[in-house]
Symmetry: D2
Subunit: 502 residues, 4 copies
């Protein structure tokens, strides 16, 4: 969905074919699409609908046509309704409770103001959690202007609360394509203020600056990019020799990866299946396609609740891991007739084919935890001999002529984004990583970073982790001088070589 819109936007805006190609190729070896990238869907479907009850659609006027001013007389923003600020503030406060790592960072670094002088233009989902990030950046000395990376995901009340405190925010839920780029433009193109840092999620902001205001890059000290897609674009630019500032790829940091994939999916597979189908896991025969981090998370959880899980793999190393972890490794076609649940986690396409869908037993549940909605060949199910019956939100029964029903969840889109929620704790890790990446790039001495794409230094990755340990009342052990010397380590880390697998 997000992807389709992405193409849509690009098609509308640019005639230049070369440029289009540069940005529209999907990463060929992409890992898992960033949760943050697509959080709009989950936000729309569940959380934000609960949180935004003031957001009744009686007000049809476009925010662009409204004249709004906050209680301080400031009007440098464009949100749905500045009067929703109070409700949004409460949402931010609730989020703060689960983002103590960020609050802690705020406190630790507040004295030295490591972002003093930073002028950050940001383009991310605008949610309560993002607000905690933005207000942390401000507390550390930065000036920020912000817009949304997704036309659906903005929590209007939160945007209002930010605008009320003086952050120039340009975003609302339900923007048009034109609104989307207008908002980005208003963030970048403003009198008397020029960004020297970019925080992007998806690459649209970066793209826009490249196309419209390339001179901005003269002052920009770095780009921090969150998403698989955006990172891919940056690598493309770098390969093409067109990247003109250092960029930090925060998507691939260890901590973020483990939480987005292994730990988060371990819980969301259960949640997503339960909310949509009320299935009882005990004794269910489940096949999980793909035993990467996402597959490992799904398998662990399902097995733990009594499902009988087997997996499919193309990679013999992952397959051998599955064996040792107690999962039978099978070909999908060998087992498809017996399965109660089929879950795809491959990053590939047509992993579940129409031929296999034809052979499933009555009541089989099919869903996708992988990266795109093509893992299951859903398109093949939209054919005249099959009947689709929507039985709940996100749940379709596909009915074969003989009466057999297959239960398709979220039309093959990502189950965990469509049908479950992302815990604030996971978002806290992402946001903390972003903040540290900004601090690092902004303060790095000349020459440390060149015009290339970098991973977050391991030491900062470790710092992100350490900020989250108090949530668990976890107590780290410190090396003695003698031990540090014996191990050849600095007492403050980093503690592992770069190739360490965790």
């Amino acid at each position: 969905m997000a992807h389709k819109h992405g193409h849509g936007r690009e098609r509308i805006q640019f005639a230049n074919t070369e440029d289009k190609q540069e940005f529209s190729k999907y990463p060929t070896k992409a890992g898992r699409r960033s949760l943050s990238r697509s959080i709009s869907q989950s936000s729309t479907d569940s959380y934000s609908s609960a949180a935004s009850y003031t957001d009744s659609s009686d007000d049809e006027t476009s925010p662009r046509d409204k004249a709004q001013v906050n209680t301080h007389g400031n009007s440098d923003f464009c949100v749905k309704n500045i009067k929703q600020a109070e409700f949004g503030r409460r949402e931010i406060e609730i989020a703060e409770q689960d983002m103590s790592a960020l609050i802690s960072l705020r406190k630790r670094a507040q004295g030295e103001k490591p972002l003093a002088g930073a002028k950050i233009v940001g383009c991310t989902h605008i949610t309560a959690q993002t607000a905690v990030l933005i207000e942390t950046l401000v507390a550390l000395g930065a000036q920020c202007r912000w817009t949304a990376c997704n036309i659906y995901s903005t929590q209007n009340e939160v945007a209002a609360a930010l605008a009320e405190t003086g952050v120039p925010v340009f975003a609302w839920k339900g923007e048009s394509e034109d609104d989307f780029w207008w908002c980005i433009d208003r963030c970048v193109n403003t009198e008397g203020w020029q960004a020297n840092m970019i925080l992007d999620d998806g690459g649209d902001l970066t793209h826009w600056v490249y196309k419209k205001y390339p001179s901005v890059f003269k002052k920009v000290r770095g780009i921090v990019e969150e998403s698989v897609t955006g990172v891919h674009r940056l690598y493309q630019l770098s390969k093409a020799g067109k990247l003109c500032v250092p960029a930090m790829n925060v998507n691939d940091s260890v901590t973020k990866q483990k939480f987005d994939n292994l730990y988060c999916c371990r819980e969301s597979i259960l949640d997503g299946l339960k909310r949509t189908t009320d299935i009882m896991f005990g004794g269910k025969q489940v096949v999980v396609c793909g035993y990467g981090e996402v597959g490992k998370g799904c398998c662990t959880a399902l097995k733990a609740l009594g499902a009988i899980v087997c997996i499919t793999e193309i990679d013999p190393i992952c397959a051998l891991q599955a064996c040792m972890d107690g999962f039978r490794v099978v070909k999908l076609s060998e087992v498809i007739r017996q399965m109660d649940v089929v879950i795809t986690c491959t990053g590939n396409k047509n992993v579940v084919t129409r031929e296999q869908l034809d052979r499933m037993k009555n009541g089989c549940i099919v869903c996708n935890m992988g990266h795109s909605n093509t893992e299951i060949d859903v398109a093949s199910l939209r054919s005249p001999e099959l009947t689709w019956e929507r039985v709940r939100s996100q749940v379709d029964h596909i009915i074969w002529p003989d009466g057999k029903r297959v239960v398709l969840l979220a039309e093959g889109r990502l189950l965990n984004l469509s049908c479950s929620t992302v815990p604030t704790f996971v978002l806290s890790i992402t946001a903390t990583t972003q903040a540290l990446a900004l601090i690092e790039l902004f303060n790095a001495p000349e020459g440390r970073y060149k015009q290339d794409v970098y991973l977050l230094p391991k030491k900062m990755d470790e710092y992100v982790a350490s900020l989250h340990l108090p949530n668990f009342d976890a107590h780290l052990t410190e090396l003695s001088d003698e031990q540090a010397k014996y191990m050849g380590l600095n007492k403050n880390g980093p503690f592992k070589p770069n190739y360490y697998r965790y």
Copy 2:
């Protein structure tokens, strides 16, 4: 809630103090309240709201004041709207897919019609799953009249579908107390038809017959009772020498108990916590009060998803089991300050006191999986110095003067009934047990059962289990003649002595 209404109803109807006492004492050593008993809540909160979209409340006329007739010209029923029958039929068909055990029983016993001649009056929740039971009873030869055991739990469309096929149903969602007893009366007190079997859930129907139509018992061959409360009432009657027909306690059959408690709670604790709080389980410190079947289920699931679980117990045997299963056994007060989640599963009251609530840390989640809403001393939280803030359906923040928030779920009522759903598979086991109990009592030779309360014979318990094995493609092994002889067993069971612990 259900309990309060129960008392309410009794207070209104009866002047006889002695009778009241007999029925209103809560079971002192009750096990877990039957899920079926209270399913209304879960049905109301989640499933039925999805399933009953035709049930718009534009029609304010009481069903008692409407003249309705089904397409066969029959008017011996009283439902919300007979025109909803088609939608209800689809719901029943969907339920049938997950109740293959009952369908299988229907097929196996259809030829011999073991309930031919049975006239069953039933008082249960009226849901799609119940409809599958009722239609199975009819297929086996019985005549049925049915009413609801709960004023909120009726799925109106399902009631309509039953009425359409000719089952006299008297029930709708949102009955008044008066309606409730009127419906029961219409089932029992009908010209030219007299019940010879009773299927009850909660004991209200039995109670009514005792009070109003005691002569009915002359023809009744037996009562099948589903709920803890109803079973307790029967044992009271029996002790008092007033039970005048055999009764079957299906609440305490092994299969039902394991599913209602251990297996179902293993899944619903995760579901209930996730739907209400989006909590991430990994690393959370959880204390579970009580290590009975419910506690065991909760602990298993939470530990499996990475929570760090400790338990409290009064019984040293259960405590020793907890030790061996890898849980620290603590007193609540020792750990209360560190806990992220507190879960009660004791069947006792004031297990979590105000003093302990005062000492919880900010953000601590408190909920109840036990039998009543007094396990947590919620009443003590309704005091002026504390602020209650409803943040979502079923989720309250209780705010202390210093800003500390405790997250209370479902106001201390049963979490799994309020905030998660009961899988059809569990209901299938209950319904199958009920059907077999009816068949057994109706066909038992004179003298097998006296005026007492019986447990289902182990052999039938085993039969219920065996009917559900095909769901798992499970293949039972049969004893050879030689092996049966060696073991001193009948090849068809029962396979275990009565005291076997499973």
Copy 3:
């Protein structure tokens, strides 16, 4: 093996056919054979060989022919070598460290001397753990005379240590059949001392008293019996109306059962397989025959270490439990070709047939955790076309003509007794239960127990458990008066009804 000897002994001693029948019928519905009953094997194979290094067999003189006296001048005993007492004392001290429950009982009851006046004759395995029991009984006021229930299991040094402190012990490792009964006789038939309590393990002592000194029963207040076999004999006597004193069946107490079966087997299946075959569990395909407590323990452990486990069952209830716990339920013949390991836990015979052994794949490991060595049809493997090759102690390769090897452990006898050890903690639970049963029977008011077989009162079962909780630093919660009243419970227990399943 032990069983065969049992028969042997009886055949030698008794001409009376009727009596023989009474005792030789194997329990038809026996639960699991008591670990203690057969501990001789494990003791012989592993632990005692380590512990008894002073026990070199250079001394071939029969203890019966030796004149020995302890340092106090006492000679009322018969052991291998009284000079080994010091080494034995150290063994007892080490055992005491893991039997703190018994030590604690010793301390708690020492003041009141609840066994003052008790004259206990005992016939059990004589190991360091038993010594801790005996010395506890003495500390509580009892006089004891002791003999061995197994001709192989005596730890000579421990027997010496007991004799040194003045306990008349008659036992050594490697007794002949004749020695065995001579020792029993010396315990019972002694001038100026007549037993008033019997502690038996296997029923041989009881049997001897019945046959030779029936008048002893006039003074005996009760029998405490430990083993399945002995308990079965007692029930036979009771049925036949020949039981003339109360007897306590300690084999079937909850705590003992759970530890002997579920918890102990959970660990010993891994230990037994590892010590014999060095197998790597990860990814191994294992079929466990029988999903009772023993099977549940085995399955849990193997699954936890990455084996892929399926089960066979005859009982649909246990089969349904296996499904919910995540194990496929199969017939052995369906899967036998794929299995890496086959484990029997049924209590039945010929569960693994020659035909199935023929179909196993090369290298398949076969072993028995059930009650007798007939679960696997080992006899069928002793045929000319198969070659047996002993590759290690307790490990045979059975080689088919085509070169296929099946790995048979312990010749089909109990794996955990033959190839692993029994933790002292398990023995502590047994010993504590025995001590409490003796106290209860000795102190019971006239009339509480009749000439029948009793289970230990639940309250004492709970007491055994509570004595073991300090090992785990477990803290029990106490009921408030209000809570006890609400639950209808005594604050000190018992806390559960008798039928509670745990």
Copy 4:
């Protein structure tokens, strides 16, 4: 132990201080010491003692002084007793059954003889498993000469069996230091044969060639090195610019690492503790120091069997993983008083200090799964106020003046090598990796490998894994052309980028 001998050997042989330094520095950041490196201990302690019963030490003549000839008249070998060949052959055959991957490689590559022309000199443990490797190399066309990398680990019968088939083997159990180097020399320095490939385990062979026959390297196409120590030496040489041929580090291949550390330790921690202490795991409080792969393996297994596990860590990322996996993260001193078992897995030294040993409770078990015997400060326990009591092989009680006992296993050396065994399956993975590395280096086109240390190409790592999948009856899925294109992958792999974490 092995380490000490290593130093010993070097001290004896070389006067050149510079050379000594180069080789004697222990890796400062070493990962886990290779299992193969030290397998001698496990082999000595358990397996080989079972397997080598013909190895009675009645023959005191040094093999160097014996004239032996095999049945083909060949005398180019030096083993303990050529007549033991038949027994050794059987051992090899048994090993072949669990090394089907290697047999499969033998079959697949036998036609093309990829090692035709290879002259391999090898220095490894000489066990049945190694024999399967050597005979595979021969089957693939190589000529081999072999010696032992450890003076204790040779299985004499296996060496005899190899010599009997014509492989020049120079090795026996119980070599002196002088024998050790003499054997190496006899392998390298032989008339009319010059090695062109080296397979080493520990670096001693490589070292010898460097010192004595540097000209050999003119013909050598590559070195394959197995151990941490040997790999470290190679990196030192490479850094110093002295490495004159390509070398392959097989120690750090993914598959080998996961099996040596995570999977193997998951099982061996249980085995090692059980064999030495007969501990019951259920409910035991355990602290595991270090949550790397070894620690993860230990924690998983212990938790699965009911232990209550907490961990210590210096690295916040690993600590956060522990939290999410459900383990409390503590400092050792905070919990030391309560622990039943303390396990070190850090690779560091003095992780358990004397001060902490002083505070342990009576009966606490202490052991080491890490890399050297300095993790526990065992030296501090060798002080006059403490009494050491050896209670079993590998088990010491350290007794404090107040009677407190701490149970120290294997004197702080590696538990899994000292007290448990290494499954053949793990050795199969190592051996297959070695064979593939030899094939790769021998056949690599000019220029592919330079004078540097390489990791095995990922594709070959995947091939090793794929050869082991049939053991599990695992079926890999193949990419379709369309899918391979979509993913940008070759259908035959490699399937993952180099940085993939698995």
